[in-house]
């Protein structure tokens, strides 16, 4: 329901055409994945059906020139959404975790795994850092978000690798 | 109370529980306090040493003027004063008049004529290569050693020589040694002043040093206290903890001081000049003073710690220095020296030995010298603020001093106070020396003289003959003095000549030693007129050859009473001035003297009252003077041989100088130690920064230079202040003893030079640590 809430939020600033909505969504949130035009309309249609938006018909305009406005119900829906905490992502079933466990089970070097993964992570982090340092505030916030997550992955890997060595030493000892 | 104890003990635990650096700090403070305690204990031991010396000197003293009949266990004795090199050797002639005659303390047997017993120090001196010119001075029949109970100190040079030539007139007859014979001899105001100044000058820096030592490593201590604050201690508790820490160090310092004191006790007797030496057993502190040291030192250290803590704000998150941005004010710092000068006014207006005056002078000195320590921080701050940019090393040093000159100044204030005091003291000693020395005597013809006050017929010939044979003697000339009593009616008018006067006869060369002669030929007669004396009228008649008391009563007994010769002062007698700078000139006044050449006496053979033999010495023979003394002693042990030119200062002052030197060296060593600690501490604190600077490629030269400048700038300022204060004080002291004012360039130069050298050496000694600290390990984050 995130795209819907995003559109609703954007509409709080004032009524807008579907195309304008897509553009402002892409500007703010669509860093990597621009919103498909069709998805905008299907989402708006659903919001319309639920009574969260209404159409301000413009005289002599086709369906593409419909102007959408948020309803009172829509406003309270956005407020409720913002007030409700997001469920923290548990990341309990990450691939990395699986790989480490498997490496351990199959007797592979966990340090190698870490190094390879770090190289890969750092490559991405470098790109993100460059983009952040050259981009605008939105870029910076988005990139930082990603950078922190990637860093968290690496930290976890490092801690795990250290523990794996401890464990291995214990097993061997 | 319980909280107090808890906090104090926590402080003690923190100080020893702080790992290596904690122990290092503790050891530094303990050593510093220990050095101070040692100095104080040494000072407290001086009275017992003096007492013991006085007691033993009294036990062997000789009471004069007793009327005793010879034979009943009696002894004739006379004092012998001699000198070897610069050391005084005072001995006694003993002439027992029966087998059970009294023995001086430390001597176990009666001495036959020619027997000599020596003090161990004199025995060693005689046996040494150095003592060649001394051998045989009192014969060579050494029959024993004087025991400790007969000596003032282990290093004393003295002897007893058996003789058979003493008479009632030349010696004292006694029945026993010692007794309350020496009247209580009050110190002269001059010597008292010297002692007071000396004590203040040597002990005040100790106080400064101890208070400096307590602050060793205080910055890391403050950080530790901040950590204690973080876990909930309040300000009061931090103070008590700090006090406990200091107390632990101070108590340890007392122990260190006690040990050092014991070491000093064993060695100090050998460091002072022989005639001031003492036995280690006598060297023990006055119990009351020792107790005072034991109580006052820890209390002082705690007080210093607490007052130092007032300067900083120990907060849970760190230490804030109070008022570091505030400029120092001058006016209240000037109160001390100004007050000191006011208290010292008796120096200029007149000295007496009243207790009040002494207290005033000591207080004045303390205030004035403390004033140096107080004005110095201001001076350094004010100067450093105005210093311009220079090289990198200079800039680093100046900037550091601008930000915080406290630490540097603290170390230097001890030096400044000591140097100021020492300069004053040396000025005083030098002035006293100048006062007692007949400075500009004429030494072009003769360099030494031997005075024989017993005289006797033919004495002049004996002296001339014997002394001419001494090694290093190139020429001799004798001056014989005869008593001239006024004769007949011509002397009746009253005046100096009423009582008679001395007529000295000798060659023109000899007479030139006694007066300023413009021209002289055989047959001339001169009248020496000191200021204010009236010349005897030409044509006055005298009877020559009597003895001084010689009126009609004793005249008959006198050795040569029969040989009185009438003599008339010729009209051709010239009035001349006393010798320049001579003793007579200084004393002023005095009776007139008549100098005659042999031709003016018409060959009358007179019995001299005294004979002065002038001797020319071979400058190539370094020990000529001592060979002369030995030769003179062999003729008559009581004759006094001395150089004409007083060697600057008399023997006693030489001793004081030596003590002063030992004190100065001890002081400088102490200061050097504290400087070293300071340098090391500052380097340690900045080890990381130093390592970074080296990583940057900073040359070691630059770093050493900055360390050196950092030390040198305050030291130069401190020494300048010290020289000014010390010189002013020296001048005031010179006024006090009515000595001619002079500025002792050499003394000032050597004292401040030595102090500067100490600083330089200690800083240099700190440099190896600098190299060690600047190794890359310092870069590791702590």
């Amino acid at each position: 329901m995130t795209v819907g809430h995003a559109l609703l939020g954007l509409l709080e600033g004032g009524p807008a055409h579907g195309y304008d909505l897509k553009r402002s969504y892409d500007e703010r949130f669509g860093q990597d994945r621009p919103l498909a035009y069709g998805q905008v309309y299907s989402t708006l249609a659903r919001l319309l059906k639920n009574g969260l938006v209404e159409v301000e018909a413009e005289p002599g305009a086709g369906p593409e020139r419909k102007k959408y406005a948020i309803t009172q119900a829509g406003v309270s829906d956005v407020a409720a959404w913002l007030a409700q905490p997001e469920k923290p992502e548990p990341y309990l079933q990450s691939t990395l975790y699986t790989k480490v466990v498997l490496a351990l089970l199959t007797g592979h070097d966990a340090d190698d795994l870490l190094d390879t993964q770090r190289a890969e992570h750092l490559r991405l982090m470098r790109d993100l850092t460059r983009r952040r340092d050259t981009g605008d505030l939105a870029d910076q916030l988005i990139c930082d978000h990603a950078l922190f997550h990637l860093e968290a992955d690496l930290r976890w890997l490092e801690v795990t690798a250290a523990r794996v060595q401890q464990l291995a030493a214990q097993v061997r000892g | 109370m319980r909280r107090w104890l808890t906090d104090l003990s926590l402080g003690v635990r923190l100080s020893v529980g702080g790992g290596r650096s904690g122990w290092a700090r503790l050891a530094l403070i303990a050593d510093g306090v220990g050095l101070g305690v040692t100095m104080l204990l040494v000072a407290a031991s001086i009275p017992p040493v003096l007492d013991a010396r006085t007691d033993r000197a009294a036990a062997r003293s000789v009471e004069s003027g007793q009327t005793l009949t010879p034979g009943a266990p009696t002894l004739l004795t006379a004092e012998v004063r001699s000198v070897f090199h610069d050391a005084a050797i005072n001995g006694r002639l003993l002439q027992p008049e029966s087998d059970d005659a009294p023995l001086p303390p430390g001597v176990t047997r009666q001495l036959a004529p020619g027997d000599v017993v020596l003090s161990p120090a004199l025995e060693r001196l005689l046996a040494s290569d150095d003592g060649a010119a001394l051998r045989g001075r009192w014969g060579d029949r050494v029959v024993g050693t004087i025991g400790a109970e007969g000596l003032a100190g282990a290093g004393e040079l003295t002897f007893y020589l058996g003789t058979d030539r003493l008479t009632d007139e030349t010696a004292n007859r006694i029945q026993s040694f010692g007794g309350a014979t020496t009247p209580e001899e009050g110190l002269s105001p001059v010597l008292m002043l010297l002692a007071l100044v000396g004590i203040v000058v040597l002990l005040l820096p100790v106080a400064i040093f101890v208070s400096t030592a307590v602050r060793f490593g205080s910055e890391s201590r403050d950080r530790r206290l901040a950590a204690v604050r973080l876990v909930g201690a309040d300000v009061g508790a931090t103070r008590r903890i700090a006090a406990g820490e200091t107390l632990a160090a101070a108590v340890l310092g007392l122990a260190v001081g006690g040990l050092l004191y014991l070491a000093v006790r064993q060695t100090a007797g050998y460091l002072v000049p022989g005639n001031l030496s003492f036995y280690p057993a006598d060297f023990r502190p006055v119990p009351a003073l020792a107790a005072l040291v034991v109580v006052l030192v820890p209390v002082t250290t705690v007080l210093v710690t607490l007052s130092a803590l007032r300067q900083v704000l120990v907060e849970p998150l760190g230490v804030v220095r109070r008022g570091s941005e505030r400029r120092r004010r001058l006016w209240w710092r000037l109160v001390f020296p100004v007050l000191g000068l006011v208290l010292l006014h008796p120096l200029v207006t007149g000295l007496d030995d009243a207790l009040g005056t002494q207290v005033m002078i000591v207080a004045g000195l303390v205030l004035l010298l403390t004033g140096v320590a107080l004005v110095l921080p201001w001076l350094v701050e004010a100067t450093v603020r105005r210093l311009g940019p220079g090289g990198v090393a200079w800039d680093l040093a100046v900037r550091r001093l601008q930000l915080d000159s406290d630490t540097a100044v603290r170390a230097v204030s001890g030096i400044a106070v000591s140097v100021a005091g020492l300069i004053a003291l040396q000025g005083l000693v030098g002035a006293i020396g100048a006062l007692t020395a007949g400075s500009q005597a004429d030494t072009s013809t003769y360099q030494a003289s031997v005075l024989d006050i017993s005289g006797g017929a033919g004495a002049d010939e004996v002296w001339a003959r014997e002394l001419a044979q001494a090694r290093g003697v190139t020429a001799v000339g004798t001056l014989t003095s005869v008593w001239a009593a006024p004769d007949g009616p011509s002397g009746g008018s009253g005046g100096a000549d009423d009582e008679g006067l001395l007529i000295d006869s000798g060659t023109c060369e000899v007479l030139a030693q006694e007066a300023q002669l413009d021209s002289c030929a055989d047959g001339d007669v001169f009248v020496v007129l000191p200021d204010g004396a009236t010349a005897p009228a030409p044509g006055s008649e005298f009877l020559l050859g009597g003895s001084r008391q010689g009126g009609s009563d004793d005249g008959g007994d006198g050795a040569g009473a029969g040989a009185l010769a009438p003599w008339t002062l010729p009209a051709s007698a010239k009035e001349v001035a006393p010798p320049e700078g001579g003793v007579t000139a200084l004393n002023g006044g005095g009776p007139p003297r008549i100098l005659v050449t042999p031709g003016a006496l018409d060959g009358a053979s007179l019995e001299p009252m005294s004979v002065t033999t002038y001797v020319a010495l071979d400058p190539a023979e370094p020990d000529a003077l001592d060979h002369l003394r030995t030769a003179a002693a062999q003729v008559d042990p009581v004759a006094y041989a001395s150089p004409i030119e007083q060697r600057g200062i008399s023997a006693a002052l030489g001793g004081i100088r030596q003590v002063l030197l030992v004190g100065t060296v001890a002081l400088l060593v102490m200061i050097g130690a504290s400087m070293l600690v300071n340098v090391v501490e500052q380097l340690r604190e900045r080890r990381r920064l130093l390592a970074v600077l080296v990583a940057f490629g900073t040359r070691q030269r630059t770093l050493s230079g900055s360390v050196l400048f950092q030390v040198a700038i305050p030291v130069v300022l401190g020494l300048a202040l010290a020289v000014v204060t010390g010189s002013v004080l020296a001048l005031a002291l010179q006024v006090a003893v009515q000595a001619p004012l002079r500025f002792d360039w050499v003394g000032v130069g050597t004292t401040s030079g030595a102090a500067a050298l100490v600083v330089l050496l200690t800083t240099a000694a700190g440099l190896p640590l600098l190299w060690r600290l600047t190794r890359p390990e310092g870069l590791r984050s702590e």
């Binding site: 770090r118 | 940057f696 040359r699 984050s781």
Partner: protein, 227 residues
């Protein structure tokens, strides 16, 4: 990267007493390259940096800078090299507390023999470039941590060194300040064409680099993988 590396450390071996700090450590930096040395605490990454900078001498192995063997140089020569060709940024405590920030930046130039006036003038320009002109007259103690590190960066770059060695330059800073310092640092270093050897344990800081090498137990691991 076809050109010859500017600074090469080969097979470095170093122990402090019984602990081995480096064991066959090999690393290289090209001109203008930013190399991150990563690894856990105590892995030997700082020691490697000190060896590469000629501060520490390895027991065995060789460090070559622009064709010159650092390990064979006299101490004075290495000092001169550090003064003229290298720059340094450390985690903390590197600024002389008595000097103003401006004077701190001017210090390396003055150590190199520049006149006081000229040194201060370029120092001013560098402070401006790192956006800390406002602390020029203040002492380091009066500047914030981030400002202090920027001053340190300015000081490292003021001599226009060929290599800047940075040991956890943001270690004592929060994320925002640390990022800003790294951003300004790397940008300025790239502008002057300086290579950077950056020791860090933080991946986010390492992300400012062109390449990373991982040090573990005194060995450089990643180097082998790249080949």
């Amino acid at each position: 990267m076809a050109d010859e590396p500017l600074l090469i450390a080969e097979n470095l071996q170093l122990s402090f007493g019984s602990t081995t700090a480096l064991e066959h450590a090999t690393a290289e930096v090209h001109a203008g390259e930013v190399l991150a040395l990563m690894g856990p605490s105590g892995s030997g990454k700082s020691t490697l940096l000190h060896c590469m900078a000629g501060i520490l001498l390895p027991d065995a192995g060789r460090v070559t800078y622009a064709g010159r063997d650092l390990t064979a140089m006299h101490d004075d020569e290495r000092s001169a090299l550090r003064r003229t060709e290298f720059g340094f940024v450390f985690q903390f405590g590197q600024l002389v507390p008595e000097l103003t920030c401006l004077e701190n930046v001017a210090l390396p130039l003055r150590l190199g023999g520049a006149s006081r006036r000229a040194a201060l003038r370029s120092a001013e320009a560098w402070l401006e470039r790192l956006e800390v002109s406002d602390v020029a007259g203040k002492r380091p103690g009066q500047a914030s941590g981030g400002q202090g590190q920027r001053v340190a960066v300015a000081r490292a770059l003021v001599t226009r060194p060929k290599v800047v060695f940075a040991d956890e330059p943001t270690g004592a800073l929060d994320t925002v300040n640390g990022d800003r310092v790294m951003q300004l640092f790397v940008a300025a270093a790239r502008d002057t064409g300086a290579a950077v050897v950056l020791v860090t344990h933080e991946p986010r800081v390492a992300a400012h680099s062109d390449r990373e090498a991982v040090v573990r137990d005194g060995r450089v691991r990643q180097q082998e993988l790249v080949r």
